[in-house]
C-alpha cells in the first residue's frame, strides 16, 4: 500500500483548497445561507466546479482529473474545516464512483456532466431513522419492460436540490439501483429543515416509471455498483468530519490562548491543557484512519470495507468529542448562536448519522476482525 504520508500532489491540492475556501467559503457563508432561508449554495458549487473538484473522481477521458479517493478525502477534509456546504460528496464522490462501476456510453456521458457541473445527484437509500441499505423495502415493481417505483425515502442528503436521484429499491430477486431525474412524474420532494442548515429531503415515489435505461448496473444486483460508491462516500464524509474536528479544535486552542480569567489565559490551567492535548491526540489518530481509508480505496478497493468503516467510526467519535469540548471550553460564548461553534456541533450530529452511524460501522469493523 502507498505510504501514509501526503504526496506532493495531495499537499498542493490541500494548500490550493485551503486558500480558496478561506476566501470563498468561511463559516459566515453558511451562516448567511441559513439566515436567508436557503439550503443550497449554487454559487459556491459553481466555483468548486471551476476549481475542477467536481471531476476529482471522473476519468480524464470524461473531462475529470481522476486524482483518486485519497485526494477526494483531502478536499472533503478542507471543506469540513470551515463547513463549506456543497453537494460534493453526493455528486462528485458517491454518484461519480457509482457511475464508474458501469462502463457504458451513458455512464461516461453522465460522468462528463458531473465534471462539468451540469448535474448534481443525491443518494436516496434511507427509509427509517437509521442507515440500513440491506433492509430496503421500497419496491420497484416489474411493469412491462420497466418498473414502477412506489414508496418513500427519508434523509436524502442534497435531495431537495439535486438534478438526479440514485434510488435503491427492491426488485424480484434482490436490490436494484436506479438513476432517475428528480423531476420525473410521480416524484415529490419535501425539504426538511435539518439542524445543520443544509439540504435534506424526504422523497415520495408514487408509481414512478423507470425503464431498463434507468438501472445503474444490473437488475437485482445493486451492491456491485452501490457498495464502492457508499464506501467512497463514507470515507469522504469521514474526512469531512475529521476536518470539522480539526476546525473546531483550532478555534478552541486559539480561544484557550486568548481568553483571560483569574488574570491568566485559561490555557494555562492544566485541567484544560490536558483535555485539549487529549483531543489533539484523538484528532491525530483519526487522521491516520482517514488517510488509510483513502489509500485502500485507491490501491485495493475490493478490500477497503474495514478501512472505510474504521475511518467513519473514528471520525464520528472524534468530531463529536471536538464539538462538545469546543462548546464547553468556550464557556458562555460557545452556546450562543452568534458564535460559530454551534454550526460545527450541528453538522457533526448530521454527519454522524449520514451513511451509517458509529454503531453501524463499529459492527462492520467487528465482523471483519472476527468478533
Amino acid at each position: 500500500m502507498a505510504k501514509l504520508v501526503r504526496t506532493d500532489e495531495e499537499a498542493l491540492l490541500a494548500e490550493a483548497a485551503r486558500g480558496f475556501l478561506d476566501g470563498a467559503a468561511p463559516v459566515s457563508r453558511l451562516r448567511n445561507m441559513r439566515d436567508s432561508g436557503e439550503t443550497a449554495d449554487p454559487g459556491l458549487w459553481k466555483a468548486m466546479v471551476e476549481m475542477g473538484w467536481a471531476g476529482i473522481l471522473v476519468p480524464e477521458a470524461a473531462g475529470g482529473s481522476d486524482m483518486g479517493h485519497a485526494a477526494a478525502c483531502v478536499l472533503a477534509g478542507e471543506m469540513g474545516k470551515t463547513l463549506a456546504s456543497s453537494p460534493f460528496i453526493s455528486t462528485a464522490v458517491i454518484a461519480a464512483t457509482a457511475l464508474r462501476q458501469v462502463s457504458d456510453r451513458r455512464a461516461t456521458e453522465a460522468l462528463g456532466r458531473i465534471a462539468a457541473g451540469q448535474a448534481t445527484y443525491a443518494l436516496a437509500v434511507d427509509e427509517g431513522a437509521k442507515f440500513d441499505p440491506a433492509n430496503t423495502r421500497m419496491e420497484a415493481r416489474a411493469d412491462g419492460n420497466g418498473f414502477r417505483l412506489n414508496g418513500e425515502k427519508r434523509f436524502v442528503v442534497d435531495g431537495g436540490n439535486a438534478d438526479r436521484l440514485l434510488v435503491l429499491a427492491r426488485t424480484g430477486n434482490g436490490l436494484t439501483l436506479f438513476d432517475i431525474p428528480s423531476g420525473r412524474e410521480g416524484v415529490s420532494r419535501e425539504r426538511r429543515a435539518t439542524i445543520d442548515s443544509r439540504d435534506t429531503a424526504d422523497i415520495r415515489f408514487d408509481e414512478v416509471v423507470a425503464t431498463g435505461e434507468d438501472v445503474l448496473g444490473q437488475v437485482d444486483d445493486a451492491m456491485t455498483v452501490l457498495k464502492p460508491a457508499l464506501e467512497a462516500g463514507q470515507a469522504a464524509l469521514a474526512a469531512e468530519m475529521a476536518g470539522l474536528a480539526a476546525g473546531a479544535f483550532g478555534m478552541t486552542v486559539e480561544y484557550l490562548k486568548e481568553r483571560k480569567q483569574f488574570g491568566v489565559p485559561i490555557g494555562a490551567f492544566q485541567a484544560l491543557q490536558h483535555r485539549a492535548a487529549h483531543l489533539w491526540c484523538e484528532c491525530e489518530v483519526t487522521a491516520s484512519a482517514i488517510m488509510h481509508a483513502g489509500r485502500m480505496l485507491d490501491d485495493d478497493p475490493g478490500n477497503a470495507s474495514l478501512a472505510v468503516s474504521l475511518a467513519k467510526a473514528r471520525a464520528t467519535d472524534t468530531a463529536q468529542r471536538a464539538v462538545q469540548e469546543g462548546v464547553q471550553m468556550h464557556g458562555g460564548i460557545g452556546m450562543t448562536d452568534a458564535f460559530d461553534m454551534g454550526f460545527y456541533m450541528k453538522r457533526a450530529r448530521v454527519a454522524a448519522e449520514w451513511l451509517g452511524d458509529y454503531g453501524y460501522h463499529a459492527n462492520i469493523v467487528a465482523q471483519a476482525r472476527g468478533f
Binding site: 505510504k3 501514509l4 504520508v5 486552542v253 484557550l256 490562548k257 491568566v264 489565559p265 490555557g267 494555562a268 492544566q270 491543557q273 490536558h274 485539549a276 492535548a277 487529549h278 489533539w280 491526540c281 491525530e284 489518530v285 483519526t286 487522521a287 491516520s288 484512519a289 488517510m291 488509510h292 474504521l310 467510526a313 473514528r314 463499529a362 459492527n363 469493523v365 467487528a366 476482525r369 472476527g370 468478533f371
Partner: protein
C-alpha cells in the same frame, strides 16, 4: 549482502527464516519468561533459544536496522517492515531483546564516538552484554531533570554517588547507562551527563522492587563512591539532557508500539472469544469493539508517523502522543480481557492477571500519561505555562 529489491529480499529472508528458525521458537511468545535477554550471566532456556540467537547473530538479525559494522543487518525502513512481516508470518520469537538494543544502541548510534560504537554495540548485537537504564531517582520522577546523583571529576576518573530507582533488571544487567549531575551550579537541565558504568564496579549494589503483578522487573540501584573511567561519557559533558530527551522520545515510541502492534496483531475479539463468557455480554462486546477500533487507528498512526519520519517530516513530540494513546489503550484492552475472563482470570496460574497488573505501569514508566499531555499542550499546542 542483502538483496536490495524488496521482493527479492523478502524471498531470501523467508527462505532463511524457514531454514533456520527452530520449531520451538515459532510460538510467537513474547512474555517475560520467553524473552532471551542475553548478557554475561544469561542461562538459555533451551538449546533452541541458543541456536536461534546464534544464527540470527551471524545475519545481523538481532538488530536488523543497525549498520553491518556494528553487528546489524543494515536494513532500510522498507526491509525492516518486511523483516517484521516475515517474522510474524512464521510466528517467530525475536531472538534477543534488551535495553541495549532498544535504548543504548540508538543513543550511541546518534551521539557516540566511533570508538564507543565499535566497543559497545557489537556485544549488544551478539547478546553478550546486558544493559539497564538509570534515569529516575527517589526525588526525580516526572521532574526527571532535578536528578541529584553526583558525578565528580577527579582528574583521572569520575566519582559517582547517589541512588537510581525503577532501573529495569538492574540486578541482572552487566552495565548501566545513567544520567548523573556533573555540574551542581548550572541550571538543572544543563548540569547533567550521560555515563556508562560497569555494574561490577566496586560500590554498585541493587535491590529488586516487587510490583503488584508479582514480578520484580524494577530495582533500586545504589552508587557508593563508584569510580568511572573518563571516556565513558556519551555526548558532551553537561549535555546529557540532549541524549536523555532523544532516548525518552525513543522509549515512548517503543512503549506505544506495544499498544499499536497489538492492534495490528491478534484481534481483541479473538482474544476475548477464548474466554468462557466470550463476547456474549453486549456491554462487554460494545466496549471491546470500541477498543478494537481505537487500537487499529493507533496502530495506523504508528505507521503514519514512521512513514512521515522517513519522508523527512519527523515530529519528535508525536512520540508523547503515541506513548499516551498506546499505553492507555493497552490498559483498556487488559481490563477487557479480565472482564471477559471472569473468575477464571482471577488466579495467579495463568498470565491474564499478571499481564493486566503489569499494564498499569505502562502509563507511568517512561513518563506518565499526565506528563505526556503536558508535553503536548506546551510543545504541540503552544499553550502557556
Amino acid at each position: 549482502m542483502e538483496a536490495t529489491e524488496p521482493e527479492a529480499f523478502r524471498g531470501e529472508l523467508r527462505a532463511w527464516l524457514e531454514d533456520n528458525c527452530p520449531d520451538e521458537m515459532r510460538d510467537g511468545r513474547n512474555d517475560e519468561a520467553s524473552i532471551c535477554w542475553g548478557g554475561k550471566n544469561w542461562k538459555f532456556a533451551s538449546d533452541a533459544q541458543r541456536t536461534w540467537l546464534e544464527r540470527c547473530v551471524t545475519k545481523g538479525y538481532t538488530v536488523p536496522t543497525w549498520p553491518v559494522e556494528y553487528g546489524g543487518a543494515g536494513l532500510n525502513r522498507e526491509q525492516e517492515k518486511i523483516f517484521h512481516d516475515e517474522m510474524r508470518r512464521l510466528n517467530a520469537r525475536y531472538p534477543l531483546q534488551s535495553f541495549g538494543i532498544w535504548m543504548l544502541g540508538p543513543a550511541l548510534l546518534h551521539f557516540g564516538t566511533h570508538e564507543q560504537k565499535k566497543h559497545y554495540l557489537p556485544p549488544i548485537a551478539r547478546g553478550e552484554v546486558r544493559w539497564c537504564q538509570g534515569y529516575s531517582e527517589p526525588g526525580a520522577g516526572s521532574d526527571l531533570a532535578s536528578l541529584q546523583t553526583r558525578c565528580e571529576d577527579k582528574g583521572d576518573h569520575w566519582l559517582v554517588n547517589g541512588q537510581k530507582i525503577w532501573t529495569s533488571y538492574a540486578d541482572k544487567a552487566d552495565w548501566i547507562f545513567a544520567l548523573v549531575r556533573t555540574d551542581r551550579d548550572a541550571p538543572k537541565h544543563k548540569g547533567i551527563s550521560f555515563v556508562l558504568i560497569d555494574m561490577q564496579s566496586d560500590g554498585v549494589s541493587t535491590r529488586p522492587i516487587k510490583l503488584i503483578s508479582g514480578v520484580s522487573p524494577f530495582c533500586e540501584t545504589f552508587f557508593d563512591h563508584v569510580k568511572v573511567p573518563k571516556d565513558l561519557v556519551v555526548g558532551e559533558v553537561n549535555r546529557g539532557w540532549d541524549v536523555a530527551k532523544y532516548l525518552l522520545t525513543h522509549e515512548r515510541e517503543m512503549i506505544s508500539a506495544a499498544g499499536g502492534t497489538m492492534g495490528a496483531g491478534r484481534p481483541l475479539g479473538a482474544v476475548l472469544a477464548d474466554s468462557e463468557t466470550g463476547l456474549t455480554d453486549p456491554v462487554l462486546r460494545a466496549d471491546a469493539m470500541r477498543a478494537e477500533i481505537d487500537g487499529l487507528a493507533v496502530g495506523l498512526t504508528l505507521e503514519r508517523y514512521k512513514d512521515q519520519a522517513e519522508a523527512g517530516q519527523g515530529a519528535g513530540d508525536a512520540s508523547a502522543m503515541l506513548k499516551y494513546m498506546g499505553t492507555e489503550l493497552n490498559k483498556r484492552r487488559l481490563e477487557l480481557v479480565m472482564a471477559a475472563g471472569g473468575s477464571d482470570a482471577l488466579g495467579w496460574d495463568d498470565d491474564r492477571a499478571p499481564n493486566w497488573l503489569r499494564t498499569k505501569a505502562n502509563s507511568i514508566e517512561g513518563g506518565t500519561s499526565e506528563v505526556m499531555l503536558s508535553i503536548i499542550s506546551k510543545r504541540v499546542l503552544g499553550l502557556p505555562g
